[in-house]
Amino acid sequence: MYLLLVEDDVNLGRALVKLLKEHYRVNWVRTLESARAHLSTAGYDAILLDLGLPDGDGVEWLRSLRGEGVNLPVLVVTARDALDDRVTGLDTGADDYLVKPFEPRELLARIRALLRRQAGAAGPCITMGTLAFEPEFRRFRLDDEIIELPPKEHQILAVLMQAGGRPVSRERLHQQLYGLEADVDSNTLEVHVHALRKVLGRERIETVRGFGYRLVAL
C-alpha cells in the first residue's frame, strides 16, 4: 500500500512518517506543488491531506483533483475542527476527516477502512475467492488457513488484493517495494512474484503481458 502524506509541519510530518512506514510505503511532501508532482509520477492508494498548506488550501486542491476525475481515497487530517470545515471537506470529496490531535490507532484504522472500501469491501476483510486479506492484522488466509509471507511478498499481495482483480502495473509494484528512487528495470519483482506463486499456486497470479500482474479469484 502506497500513501501520499501532504503535511507542512516538519515535526508532525516526521512523526507521521515514522508511524505510517511501519504499515505502508509513504511519500511525504510539504507543499501542494510537490504533492501534484508526486501524484503524477506514482500510483498511490490513498492521500493523507493537511488543509492549511503554505502554497494553498488543501480543500481547493482536493476540489481540482476530483474535478480531474482522480478517485483516490483522501483522508483529510487537519487542525480545523469547525463543523463548516468538516462539512466542506467531506462535500468537496474527502472520504474521511480526522481532526488533530488524534490517536495513532484511530488514524491507522481509518486508513485501513479507506483502503478496504477502495478494494470494494465494507467488512474488515478483503477477499478474492478463497484468498482473504485482513488489513487490521496484516495477515492473509488461504482456504481459512493463515499464511505467512515475507515482507516484500506481503506488500505485493496486498497491492494486488487492493486492486481487486484489476491488473497492476509492474512500475506500481516496483514503487511499492522500492519507492520512487529505485531503478525500475531491476528484475527482483519477478523473483518475489515467483515466490508468491509458490505459496498461492501458479494460476492465482496472472501475468498481463507488457503491463504487469493481476489476481484471479479461485
Partner: protein, 437 residues
Amino acid sequence: MTLRLSHLAILLALSILAAAVGGVAATWRIADEAFRDVLDEDLENQTELLAELLDADGVVLDEDALEDLLDEAFEPEGEETLWVTVYDLRTGRSVSNFAHDLPLEDPEREHVRRSFDGHQWRGYQGDEGAYVVQMLRRDDLLDEVREGVLEDIVTPTAIASVVSLALLALFIAFSLWPLSRFARQIETRHARSLEPLAVRAPAAEIRVLRDALNRLMAGVAETLARERQFASDVAHELRNPLTTLKLELKGPDPDLAAATAEVDRLARLVEQLLTLARLDAGHWQRQFAPQALNELCARVVERYRERFAEAGLVLDARLASVTVAGDATLLETLLRNLLENVLRHCGPDTRAEVVLEAANDGARLTVVDTGPGIAAEQRRRMAEGFTRLDSRSEGLGLGLAICRKIADVHGASLAFEPRGDGAAGLAVIVRFPPAAP
C-alpha cells in the same frame, strides 16, 4: 419617563385640530361682537341724527315728505332690511318706510326688539322733543353677514389644518414607521447575524442611522472574522505539536528529543499567547516612560548580530537619536519579533538593516531586508490583521499579532511595504506618534 414619538405625533395632531377649532371660535366670537357693536353704534348714530333733525327749530315736515325721505334714504339697494319709524308723540301718529301701524311700545327704552313681516328686528330707539325715532335692522341680514365672516375665517384655517395634518402624516410615514420597522428588524435579528440592515427610508436622518449601524456591524463582523481566524490559527499551532507528541509517545520507540522539541514549541506558543493576553488586558500606558529607542535598538541588534552571522545573514543598524514614550520590555519584544521573522523567512546572504529615523510626524523604526519579500495580496491580509503568515514548524502568526498589539499600545502603526528601491525584500515599518508637546 419614556416618551413614545407616536404618542407625541398624536398629541401634535390633536393640538393642530384644537388650535384650528379654538382659533376659529375665538376669532368668530371677537369678530361677531365687534361687528355687532359697529352696527349697533351705526344705528344709534343714525337714530340720534334723524331725531335731532326732526326736532330742530323751524323744521316743518309733513308726513308725506317724511315718508318719501325714509323710503329713499333707508332702503339701500332695494333690500328692505332697515326699518325706520318716526312716532309723533303729540299727534300719536307715526310715519315709517314700511307700511305698518304698530304702536310705540315703550318710548323710554333704547334697545328695541320687534317681530314684523315674519322676521325678527332689533335696533335702537331715540327720542328728541316730540319725536321718537325707531331704527331696526332685520336679524337675518346680520346672520348672513355672520355666516360670510365665519366662512372667511374657517376656510383658510381648515386648509392650513389639513396641510399641517398631511405634513404630520408624511412625517410619521417617513420617519416613525421606517424607524419602527428598523427597530423590529434589529429586535428580531439573531445576535450572530451581522448582515447589513435593509430598510428603505426616505428620511436622510434614518438612512444616516442605518448606514452608521451597517458600518458598525461590518466592522464587528470583520473583527469577529479576524478573531475566528486567530483562534483557528492558534488551534492549528497548538494541535500540530500535540499530535506529534501523541504519535511519538504512543509509538513503539518514542523519540524523546523530538518530543522535547515539541514541548518547547508548545511552551513558546503558550508564552506568546500569555504575552498577547497581557497586552490585551491593557494598562500598559500607565507605566510608560521616555525610552531612548536608539539605545534599546542598538542593544537588541548587538545581541542578534551573531545569530544572523551564524545563519549566513548580515545585520546592520542605522540609528538616529530618538526618544519615545513606551515600555522597554515591550519595545524590545517588538524588535526581537521582527528580527526573528527575518531569520525565519530569509535565506543566507540576506542583508537586513534596522533603521531608526526621527521625523516631524513621529519616529520611524524600519526593519528592511533583501529576502524574498511578501506578495501584495498577502501584505494586504497582514495589514487587515490576519495572522497566519506561513506554516513552518516555528510559531508564526502569533509573533505578528504580538507586534501589532505592541504597536497598538504605543499608539504606533505597523506597515508591511516592499523595499523602497524596487529590489526584492520586505520593509516592516513601525511609525510612532509624534511626542506629546
